[in-house]
């Protein structure tokens, strides 16, 4: 490989500022964490087991799905398949950061990916589209999201009864609204709009007719093909 690694250096001050940038959305992540903690103890996980899962796995949707499969025993292959399918969007997210990440030493590169998740990735991707390189939000923003997920789970396993119905407060829509606002905040060229249309259609087709949890990857890859065949004019 011939790429000179040295191009991207994380700025500590910017990591801190990105921590605070994602602090508001993290407060909502606490609410999700509470809902997860509650669901986990209701299914029979011990409080510390549920918390350990949040600390190590740090991928909410797949944790909810795993807890849904809970019983006296859990069959391993279906569990792995579901967790992989739900989290496979990380593969695409990581790949999309590669043009920036390749300029980092490998240890840092994989280190900050430990806290890669939807919200901090969406911010980084939007900044990149608008011409700003921001890996600091992956680290700083990821850390505050991880803290929130941990704190929320802890609150949920011990005091989950306080937030029995997050849906009725609209809290299940927080991440959806956040991701939508990030998508709409990016550039909207004809090329992007066509990619969105293709991605949305493919996602729905997969959602209806393909195995569960495949729609994100199918839709995103279909949208990506638009960019592969429809090249941007030279110059931004």
């Amino acid at each position: 490989m011939s790429i000179a690694p040295s191009g991207y250096r994380l700025e500590p001050a910017k990591v801190r500022s990105q921590f605070f940038r994602l602090l508001p959305i993290s407060l909502f992540v606490v609410a999700f964490g509470i809902a997860f903690g509650l669901a986990a103890v209701q299914k029979g996980l011990a409080p510390l087991e549920a918390t350990l899962m949040s600390v190590l796995v740090f991928a909410g949707a797949s944790q909810f799905a795993a807890v849904d499969m809970w019983g006296p025993a859990v069959s391993v292959l279906p569990l792995m398949a579901v967790v992989f399918a739900i989290n496979s969007r990380h593969i695409l997210m990581g790949a999309s950061l590669y043009p920036m990440l390749r300029e980092m030493p490998p240890l840092q590169r994989y280190g900050i990916l430990l806290v890669l998740t939807d919200a901090n990735w969406a911010v980084s991707a939007q900044d990149y589209q608008n011409g700003r390189r921001n890996l600091e939000v992956i680290l700083g923003g990821g850390f505050v999201l991880w803290l929130a997920w941990l704190i929320g789970t802890l609150l949920g396993v011990y005091f989950g009864g306080l937030l029995q119905e997050p849906r009725s407060l609209g809290l299940d829509m927080v991440l959806g609204c956040f991701l939508l606002s990030m998508a709409l905040g990016g550039r909207k060229t004809p090329r992007v709009l066509v990619a969105w249309f293709v991605a949305g259609s493919a996602s729905m087709a997969a959602y209806w007719w393909l195995p569960a949890h495949t729609h994100v990857v199918v839709g995103a890859l279909a949208g990506g093909l638009v960019g592969f065949f429809w090249l941007e004019e030279a110059g931004p």
Binding site: I25, L56, L171, L180, H215, V216, G224
Partner: protein, 103 residues
Amino acid sequence: MNIETTTPGILLIIAIMTLVTLVTRFGGVFLMSFVTINPRVEGFINAMASSVLIAILAPLAFDGDVGARLALGTTAMIMLATRKPLPAIAAGILAAALGRYLI
């Protein structure tokens, strides 16, 4: 293969979930290190990046309940009008809560 949900079993399940998730977090970057970046690949990556969000949101919008649709619609309108995420998200959540309460 089944794992019993006793304490050691649960720890093993958590370890397996952690590993699988780690593979997804690292996998994309690892695979990309074998790919030569050219304008087409870059075009693919960039279009894919914005498409991920749409692919996540599409079922929420088309198959969600009234609250979900109200939330996304409200967020979209306010975001397009003001370009400020926080008010757009807050209004979207409020719309979901109100919609579910009233309808």
